[in-house]
């Protein structure tokens, strides 16, 4: 009984809020802005379309997207968002086959994928665009018996570990960077992702830029170690293996209470992994925008003491032009909300890294230009 009454009250409140925000968006065209979405940079987020939006892709984004979905559906009660986290590759395939209105991907579209989009006519005569949506930090996690401090591991040493040229924890190259820490002679057992992954791409990109590692690749390009499926698998193996080392998104390191390393930047100093430090680094990324297509290129030479250089960004992929006309307002509405400050500020609690304001602004203009 009581519950129902609350429900009724909530219903009235939502209806009132809806009516208000609808007014606000109507006024948008004539007057400047309404107060309905305070602090939001994505002004397109304030209007509410209705219908069902289908999306698929990246598993790394799942937690963020489901939080956004919950919030957005509360805000816009007429909208249902279905996100099928079937993996970045499968998501893009669903997108091409018109099963998904947009795809979540851990990496920007490859040239092969872009060609598939064009040849399939998915976007009419147009092509698909990338929109960075969720940032993250990559933790270098390890398990050395009796070592609980954060080790200093340089990009060069990490590259050597993952290529199998440094094989024991007390190797001189590692002990040199870690004065005061007694490291055992335990064998190093590197673990990498056996499936294709944006985490692999971005970590190898970091190692390639600063440690002379193989060219970045979503299929891990290292020469040594064992492959495990998914980030959770890597985290579990590292936790269970004495001498193990691996990489995973920050949230896996904290949730599994794994020790993670301070990694080196371009200046050779070691940076602690915090979400703020990672966000500072992402803020310096170059935003390359051609039309609505927005790509982030991290500036690995940036070497401020509060910028953690081992980061990643995941993307949403939609049609630049030629979106399905019924889905278009939904895509613009939801993605607009995703890149808004309101949504991005929630990411910290979920273990992700919010995109800096500059990227949010670039995203917002890209999304408003979708057609």
């Amino acid at each position: 009984m009581k519950f129902q009454r609350y429900g009724a009250v909530a219903g009235v409140a939502v209806a009132a809020a809806l009516a208000l925000s609808a007014c606000g968006s109507d006024n948008n065209s004539t007057t400047s802005t309404s107060t309905s979405s305070a602090g939001s940079t994505g002004s397109s987020a304030s209007s509410c379309p209705s219908g069902t939006l289908n999306a698929a892709g990246s598993t790394a984004q799942t937690n963020a997207i489901s939080q956004f979905t919950k919030d957005y559906q509360t805000k816009c009660t007429g909208v249902t968002v279905n996100y099928n986290s079937n993996g970045s590759g499968a998501g893009v395939t669903s997108f091409i086959q018109r099963q998904a209105d947009f795809a979540g991907s851990d990496y920007a579209l490859s040239s092969t994928q872009a060609a598939q989009v064009t040849s399939s006519g998915r976007c009419g005569t147009g092509s698909a665009v990338d929109i960075p949506a969720v940032g993250g930090a990559i933790a270098v996690i390890y398990n050395i018996p009796n070592v609980t401090t954060s080790l200093n591991l340089s990009a060069k040493n990490l590259a050597a570990i993952f290529d199998g040229t440094i094989t024991t924890w007390n190797d001189a190259a590692i002990t040199k960077d870690n004065p005061g820490v007694t490291l055992p002679s335990t064998k190093i057992q590197p673990f990498f992702r056996s499936d294709t992954s944006g985490t692999s791409y971005n970590f190898s990109n970091y190692l390639n830029n600063l440690g002379g590692f193989a060219a970045p690749n979503k299929q891990w390009p290292g020469k040594a170690g064992q492959g495990v499926a998914k980030s959770s698998g890597v985290a579990a193996k590292v936790k269970a293996t004495a001498g193990g080392i691996g990489y995973a998104e920050y949230s896996y390191a904290t949730q599994d209470s794994l020790t993670f390393a301070n990694v080196s930047n371009a200046a050779g100093s070691f940076i602690k992994l915090t979400q703020t430090n990672a966000s500072n680094f992402i803020a310096k990324a170059k935003v390359a925008q051609t039309g609505a297509d927005t790509k982030l290129a991290f500036d690995y030479q940036y070497s401020a003491a509060d910028a953690y250089p081992n980061v990643l960004a995941t993307y949403e992929i939609a049609c630049g032009t030629g979106n399905d006309s019924t889905a278009l307002p939904l895509i613009k509405g939801f993605l607009g909300y995703v890149v808004s400050n309101t949504a991005q500020s929630e990411l910290t609690n979920l273990g992700y890294v919010p995109l800096p304001a500059s990227v949010q602004a670039a995203d917002a203009s890209a999304i408003s230009s979708l057609s």
Partner: protein, 337 residues
């Protein structure tokens, strides 16, 4: 649980109902209802065949498509990179390493699981009182009710931690054989995966063997005793020979299950590049596990390549079943002569 593997039928073919003269003279003339029913039944049968042929045709088409794009030999290459992630989009993939891993893990599973399963079946049917036996049987059957993902989790989080010591012991004793040598690291090996598979196929083999041993003719048992046989001699003379064919097919059934087991193996094994010949050191991959881990992020060629690998697994299962039937037929003939 075992319904996804084709059963290896032990019975000789002549026990199947003979087609014979279908419509005897008993029904003078087929009525309209008869004809409609007959027609729809025939239609259903044909439809199933057409459907199967269509599925097979589709799979083969996809597989051929992928293999024709393959830039290395599909049967002998060790790499699996059908989307060309490491080769600038040039598909390079081969079945050799994962087919090897599939065979090796399944063989280890059967080598460990089958003797234990047979011993369990003998114990339940010959050594304990009936009531106690049925309780034991029930407990063993329960093993089959555990979902494979749970076995995978257990293998990954519990068993694997304890395989290091065993593996080291085996290496110390048998390390002079290259198969049992390691690089000094243990765990997540094909041996561990084989042990998990052994536990998973144990209830299947044990349940079938139990039912077969239960049916050992009373006369043969008593005849053996009458000759002054001890219990073990009686089992050797009466029970084991009687059950040999059936138990062989039970083992093949278990082997088939091990070949196709996906998620438990995928969770236990870690992958390393190339062919893994050392079963105690980390690394290895199987066809089914490879499909499970690669499918989500595969693109067009990647999916077709995975379908091709699935067809190879299907052929392997078929061959194993066929070989088993041949063995049974031969031994049955020998026993009959």
């Amino acid at each position: 649980m075992s319904s996804d593997t084709p059963p290896a039928v032990a019975e000789p073919a002549d026990q199947a109902p003979k087609p014979g003269p279908a419509r005897s003279g008993l029904t003078a003339k087929a009525g309209l209802g008869d004809r409609i029913f007959g027609g729809s039944a025939r239609g259903a049968a044909v439809f199933i065949l057409v459907l199967m042929a269509a599925i097979a045709g589709f799979l083969i088409y996809q597989a051929v498509n992928a293999i024709s794009e393959d830039k290395v030999n599909f049967l002998t290459s060790f790499t699996w990179d059908p989307d060309g992630n490491n080769t600038n989009g040039v598909p390079t993939f081969g079945i050799a390493a994962i087919a090897w891993g599939t065979l090796v893990t399944s063989l280890i599973g059967v080598l460990i699981g089958a003797p234990i399963a047979i011993a369990v079946a003998l114990f339940i049917t010959q050594y304990v009182p009936r009531t106690l036996g049925s309780i034991f049987g029930y407990v063993v059957d329960l093993l089959a009710a555990v979902p494979s993902v749970v076995y995978g989790l257990w293998g990954l989080l519990v068993l694997d931690q304890h395989m290091g010591g065993v593996s080291r012991l085996i290496e110390d004793v048998l390390g002079w054989i290259p198969l049992f040598k390691t690089n000094g690291t243990y765990g997540s090996s094909m041996f561990t995966a084989g042990v998990v598979l052994a536990i998973m196929i144990l209830p299947i083999i044990a349940a079938i063997a139990r039912e077969i041993y239960k049916q050992t003719p009373r006369e043969q048992v008593e005849a053996a005793y009458a000759l002054g046989a001890t219990k073990w001699e009686m089992i050797r003379l009466a029970v084991l020979p009687y059950g040999r064919n059936g138990v062989t097919s039970a083992i093949i059934l278990g082997f088939g299950r091990a070949l196709g087991e996906t998620i438990a193996v995928a969770m236990v094994l870690t992958t390393v590049p190339g062919l893994v010949t050392r079963i105690l050191q980390p690394g290895g991959n199987t066809i089914a596990a490879n499909i499970a881990t690669q499918f989500a992020d595969a693109f067009t060629t990647g999916r077709q390549a995975l379908i091709a690998s699935g067809l190879v697994l299907f052929l392997m299962t078929l061959l194993v079943n066929y070989a088993a039937r041949a063995v049974i037929r031969r031994s049955a003939k020998k026993a009959g002569a």
